[in-house]
């Protein structure tokens, strides 16, 4: 960490110089070009400078939650079930440490945009941020935006003796490590899951949720009644957002996103069949406006009683059972995703939190991240039915047992929801466009082929 110090020190000077030259030469065109060159040079040379600029002393002495009393950190989060549940707990941390946490929560799309922009800008305003390693991990790590957490965890002066880092499984830790940098720690673990309305199922004469995609189609058809405002089936249709939900279909049709050597594979016959099935189910039995629906819209519809079956990530379980938000809360059942013609694969998605490498208060940030992932907080959240990343912390006894069963059965065989490439956002958009075409009843095969071409093109430029 310390090896950058010299270059860090020289950086502000380089900027000053650029600034002065900008002023002196702003009248001539040649000067402008010169300025562009200088600025560019400063980007080239100033390069390695960012990353970690704290220059903080390594903390020593015994561990003390109050060590950074009075500091203030900013935590940027996406609006997520985890975020909603953890926000009320933060005063506990503030009391415990005297550190003030400015938490900023934005809707998922806006959150991603803002985070990306601020991290690209090298802003030191972000200290701790939510991030998904499936989505951002490789790219963020490549850009050097994650602070390596290992030195903090190993530092006995900064990490509480009861933190129990070993409780995170080896595969989880490996999944969050890029080029040897432990980039983030898991905070919310989700599997894709089927939410269903027991009353509607019973009314249509079914006594159990669908176990296969064929049964799913049959039940969805039986329960769809637009005149009554009830739709038999819903899943995300909004392009990039839908990709995580498509994955189980793909796997259960015997296809994958990519081959071992990183080429697009979802345009195989099986892959196209999966995308067609995903699209036609939504088109035939889904609510109107389907290609603009992400989980936010669908959750609102499910709570309002408009959906009979809904597949989405398990984080929504808390909200669908919340009697204050929905009068159908006690009619909601949970099941793993139905099997397809080629198997019974399940999928998972994880949210994590990391420390920005540009943060000016990394030690205080670590205390916060440590607290967020501590057995205590994870326990409080698991009590509410929100799964964290710790092996030893079970769900609370109040959590709906049907949910727990479905969750654990899915998790036991779950695969990641996103292809493991660097340019995930761009790849998601490409695949999402094919999903949208499929939902709209267009030529799904052609659209999928096109998406696969785009996929290869994007991955080849990484």
């Amino acid at each position: 960490m310390r090896r950058f110090t010299v270059r860090i020190d020289s950086k502000p000077i380089a900027i000053d110089r650029t600034e002065k030259r900008m002023h002196r030469r702003k009248f001539t065109r040649g000067g402008l070009v010169a300025t562009a060159v200088i600025l560019t040079v400063s980007i080239f040379t100033g390069c390695a400078a960012t990353g970690d600029a704290s220059g903080e002393e390594v903390a020593t002495g015994s561990f003390d939650w109050k060590r950074f009393d009075g500091e203030e950190i900013r935590f940027v989060a996406g609006l997520q079930p985890w975020q909603a549940a953890v926000e009320p707990l933060i005063p506990q941390f503030e009391q415990k440490t005297g550190i003030k946490v400015n938490m900023e929560s934005l809707p998922e799309d806006q959150f991603r945009q803002r985070l990306q922009v601020e991290l690209t800008a090298g802003s030191d305003d972000i200290d701790v941020f939510m991030s998904s390693v499936q989505q951002d991990g490789a790219r963020f790590a490549q850009s050097g935006w994650y602070e390596d957490l290992k030195p903090y965890i190993e530092n006995k002066s900064l990490t509480a003796p009861d933190y129990d880092f070993g409780d995170f499984s080896e595969s989880v830790v490996n999944g969050h490590t890029f080029d040897g940098v432990l980039s983030a720690l898991p905070i919310q673990l989700e599997v894709q899951m089927l939410y269903y309305r027991k009353d509607l199922l019973a009314k249509a004469g079914f006594d159990a949720p669908p176990a296969t995609l064929d049964e799913l189609r049959e039940m969805a058809a039986a329960m769809t009644d637009p005149a009554d405002g009830v739709y038999g089936w819903a899943a995300r249709g909004k392009s990039a957002a839908a990709v995580t939900q498509l994955t189980s279909f793909l796997l259960n049709y015997g296809a994958t996103y990519m081959t071992e050597d990183g080429k697009a594979a979802f345009d195989s016959k099986k892959g196209i069949a999966a995308i067609e099935e995903y699209g036609s189910l939504i088109r035939d039995y889904g609510p109107s406006g389907n290609t603009n629906n992400s989980w936010e819209e669908l959750l609102a519809l499910f709570q309002a009683g408009s959906l009979a079956l809904w597949a989405d990530n398990s984080g929504q379980a808390v909200a669908v059972r919340d009697a204050a938000s929905s009068k159908y809360a006690d009619q909601v059942g949970f099941a793993p995703m139905p099997a397809g013609p080629a198997g019974d694969a399940q999928t998972f998605f994880g949210w994590a939190a990391g420390i920005s490498s540009s943060s000016a208060q990394k030690d205080a940030s670590w205390l916060f991240l440590q607290w967020l992932t501590s057995p205590d907080v994870v326990g409080q959240l698991q009590d509410q039915g929100i799964a964290g990343g710790r092996q030893s912390v079970p769900f609370g006894t109040d959590v709906n047992p049907e949910f727990v069963t479905a969750f654990q059965s899915a998790l036991s065989k779950a695969q990641p929801q996103l292809p493991q490439v660097k340019s995930v956002p761009e790849v998601r958009d490409a695949i999402g466009a094919a999903i949208v075409t499929s939902i709209q009843g267009g030529d799904a095969a052609a659209a999928t082929k096109k998406a696969a071409e785009a996929f290869d093109q994007i991955v080849s430029t990484e």
């Binding site: 960012t50 790219r139 935006w145 249709g237 109107s288 958009d429």
Partner: protein
């Protein structure tokens, strides 16, 4: 404050008031023609003379310098970036890739479609705005009660915050909560998917743009109508022309130059539509409302491919430049 009387014949007054000029007192000139040979001048006076001689240059310099700094510089910088690959991280600096980005751009179907969409949206929306705008202008040109109020109402769409307006339209188009589906079902039609409908999404973006900007064309045309002479209309009436004939053969040719001006401005602005699309659809469903502006934003700020986005912007910039300069040419001969 010093004042230099330069009026012919008036002898120059030596000044040593609060100008601080005592230090710069120079040899007194014996000429009678102060315009030719300067009388002893203080620094301030000389400055003032200098300014007088170079008013144009000095007055426009700050603005031009600013425009150059924030415009030409970014364009030069963008040009540089367009030949590199860069993910916006300080850790991995821009990598020179030659014209790869441009080659890739013209094989990038998403880019080509976005270009087509941008042109289609602009052409469609501006055509609609022109027709509705001119019609509205003719309607408002008459004298009627509450004309002032009506004019103010027509102004509202173009000055209200576009983000606010786009959010409200998004709610109106909402398939479940929106009023439009409610109206449709009430009068016996099937509800529509509106912004989620692939055949409608881009059209609706155009509708909102038209709603927002037809008033501008209307008001510009209205100004043109107000300035028209009366004679040709009287002549046409005498010739027995009816209202429609008068409009088509007399009014329209006469207001055409000013309408063309309005159209040119709308074309340029419309190519750049961002807020409405960004707020209503974010370019979706899929890429079905993604214009060059939105694509460039995504490439730069979602995918962090700053080099590629720079190449895209260069092409976009040239496109806008091409269209606007050809439009300017089109309009020049019609201007007096």
């Amino acid at each position: 404050m010093s004042l230099t009387p330069t009026k012919e014949g008036t002898p120059p007054v030596a000044r040593d008031t609060a100008t601080g000029g005592s230090a710069s007192r120079t040899k007194r000139s014996d000429s009678k023609f102060p315009t030719k040979t300067p009388t002893p001048l203080t620094t301030r006076q000389r400055l003032s003379r200098f300014v007088d001689r170079h008013v144009l240059g000095i007055y426009v310099a700050p603005a031009v310098a600013f425009i150059s700094l924030v415009m030409i510089f970014p364009v030069v910088f963008t040009l540089f970036l367009s030949f590199t690959e860069w993910f916006g991280s300080a850790r991995t600096p821009p990598k020179f890739v030659g014209i790869d980005n441009f080659v890739q751009l013209f094989q990038d179907e998403r880019f080509l479609l976005a270009t087509g969409r941008t042109i289609l949206l602009t052409a469609g929306a501006v055509t609609a705005q022109t027709i509705i705008g001119v019609g509205l202008a003719v309607l408002l040109h008459r004298q009627f009660v509450l004309r002032g109020l009506v004019r103010s109402i027509v102004l509202l769409p173009m000055i209200a915050t576009p983000v606010a307006i786009a959010l409200i339209w998004r709610l109106m188009f909402h398939p479940q909560l929106g009023i439009l589906n409610d109206i449709l079902t009430r009068i016996g039609f099937a509800p529509s998917d509106w912004l989620a409908d692939p055949n409608l999404a881009l059209l609706l973006v155009g509708v909102v743009d038209t709603w927002e900007w037809a008033p501008l064309i209307a008001l510009i045309t209205l100004a043109g109508l107000a300035a028209l002479p009366e004679d040709p209309f009287e002549a046409a009436s005498i010739d027995g022309a009816n209202g429609w004939q008068k409009f088509w053969h007399v009014t329209l040719p006469m207001v055409r130059p000013i309408v063309v001006v309005a159209v040119v401005f709308r074309l340029i602005e419309s190519l750049k539509t961002f807020d409405v699309i960004f707020v209503m659809t974010q370019g979706g469903p899929g890429f079905q409302t993604e214009t060059l502006n939105i694509y460039a934003y995504n490439v730069a700020f979602q995918y962090q491919r700053l080099g590629y986005s720079a190449a895209l912007l260069i092409v976009f910039f040239l496109l806008v430049l091409l269209i606007s300069s050809s439009m300017m040419k089109l309009r020049r001969p019609k201007e007096k």
